[in-house]
């Protein structure tokens, strides 16, 4: 399945303004304006100027919050998004309810405590975002993430992403029974997405610190159903069902 653009000329529009450039602009803006977020539960909330807020929307991060505040736009970020801004793009400071700045290490620990698969989830998120794919939550499709080739207003998401642990650790593992495989593939297919399984493996160091980033490895696999009825070269063979 190739990309499905939502309108005429949208593909050209996307080519004209590549996501990498948008994210780069956003990063500069956030750095220059000392963007600062507040960690609350499993979200990081932050206020941005309207110009910066527009950039955030253009890069498709976070969810806008409707508030009466006219000067600033409020947004909430998911843990992966927040960590991405904080640790990868280095353009977001985060403090906690006690008004203390949170370090990389503390943030990692905090997030992992709330969601034990956070390390793998973050590696998957970061892996795709670094390749300039737009990554959003996939929970409404029964998967972890959905990946878009550009902004969701221009194109439908192509991939439904599942995060799996590579290696012997079987906890939180998915696709362990055939009915799960059937289900995940069917669901993804019914919304015209390809199921992408990301296997995240650790290199044996301590998992509690992000300084071992390079110790993670991501393996991409497509889980797809093959219909032998549809793939024969000889198209003159009559199909059944009459």
């Amino acid at each position: 399945m190739g990309p499905r653009w939502k309108g005429k000329g949208f593909e050209a529009k996307a080519l004209d303004d590549p996501m990498s450039a948008i994210v780069s602009r956003l990063q500069s803006f956030m750095k220059d304006s000392n963007a600062h977020g507040l960690i609350s539960g499993s979200s990081v909330i932050l206020a941005l100027s309207s110009e910066c807020g527009n950039l955030l929307n253009s890069a498709s991060f976070g969810r806008p919050m409707a508030t009466v505040d006219k000067e600033k736009q409020w947004f909430q970020l998911g843990m992966e998004e927040a960590f991405y801004f904080h640790h990868i793009l280095n353009c977001l400071e985060i403090s906690n309810g006690d008004k203390q700045l949170v370090t990389d290490h503390d943030l990692w620990q905090y997030m992992t405590k709330r969601k034990s698969i956070f390390p793998e989830s973050f590696m998957a998120y970061s892996h795709l975002r670094t390749k300039n794919w737009v990554v959003r939550s996939g929970s409404q499709y029964g998967v972890d993430f959905v990946a878009y080739r550009h902004h969701p207003s221009l194109v439908h998401s192509e991939y439904a992403v599942l995060v799996l642990r590579k290696g012997d650790d079987e906890s939180h593992q998915r696709l362990r029974s055939w009915s799960e495989v059937h289900c995940a593939v069917r669901l993804s297919g019914s919304v015209a997405k390809t199921l992408l399984a990301l296997f995240i493996g650790k290199c044996g160091y301590g998992e509690t610190s992000p300084s071992f980033f390079n110790g993670y490895h991501v393996e991409e696999r497509i889980v797809a159903r093959w219909s032998p009825e549809q793939c024969r070269e000889d198209h003159t063979v009559p199909r059944s069902g009459s």
Binding site: R4, L15, D17, I22, R232, G241
Partner: protein, 245 residues
């Protein structure tokens, strides 16, 4: 670039053609399969050789033999699944070593013995693909060998036994599958289009997939699951999503 609109999370609403076909199958299961098979009028004859677990074809009729059976020193032999498939469509009459005709019931019995390198589920997969026109052979068993006699066949049996003992958590590379091809030649079949692995209870683990991919070289691997007469095929292929601009 302006984009204030929030992504509306609605399903894209593409109706899966597979949904429609599945509905048909549920209500008219037999009509579908019968219309796929073409019952033959002229039958070939084969004699079952229980020592090697194959049937020696003594009288060939029709074009089916270009894509069925293996040649060993000029003689043609077919496996239990090939035998049964042809017997079901009336293209083959099987006799035992005494010359007594074997009914379909007898051949099903041989399959149930599970001594001839094939079980019921293997057969369901074989039948499904053959009915669609694919060319299917047992993994690792050459289509043609010049060697004469039962030595070669014993070797074939050895290959099949070895493969089934591999038992990677119930996984085995079972079949070489070729796309329908009117020009197929046993003397030079080329690489199969797919290597098909049958699974038992569970889907393969990532590690299993890796091992089987390595064994199959550059040939794509597919995994098969049989449940209540329904055969489904899946792949877990490695990819590398492009880096976007």
């Amino acid at each position: 670039m302006e984009s204030e609109k929030w992504e509306i999370c609605s399903s894209d609403g593409d109706l899966c053609t597979e949904d429609l076909k599945d509905e048909e199958d549920a209500f008219y299961p037999l009509s579908g399969s019968i219309s796929k098979l073409q019952f033959r009028k002229a039958s070939s004859r084969a004699c079952w050789n229980s020592e090697v677990g194959m049937a020696e074809v003594v009288e060939r009729k029709g074009q089916i033999w270009t894509t069925t059976g293996v040649l060993r020193g000029g003689k043609l032999y077919c496996s239990i699944e090939e035998t049964l498939f042809l017997a079901e469509i009336g293209a083959l009459v099987l006799v035992d070593e005494n010359g007594t005709g074997l009914s379909l019931e007898g051949i099903y019995g041989k399959l149930a013995e599970e001594k001839n390198g094939c079980c019921w589920e293997h057969y369901e997969v074989y039948k499904h693909l053959k009915s669609l026109g694919y060319i299917v052979g047992r993994r690792g068993v050459p289509w043609t060998l010049k060697s004469v006699g039962t030595d070669a066949l014993t070797e074939d049996r050895f290959i099949t036994d070895r493969l089934s003992k591999l038992d990677l958590n119930g996984l085995e590379p079972a079949f070489d599958v070729y796309l329908p091809n009117g020009k197929f030649k046993k003397s030079s079949p080329g690489d199969p289009s797919y290597v098909l692995c049958l699974t038992r209870e569970s889907p393969p683990s990532r590690k299993d997939v890796e091992v089987l991919e390595r064994q199959s070289g550059h040939i794509p691997v597919k995994f098969c699951h049989v449940e209540n007469g329904r055969v489904s095929f899946f792949s877990f292929s490695k990819v590398d999503l492009p880096v976007l601009p």
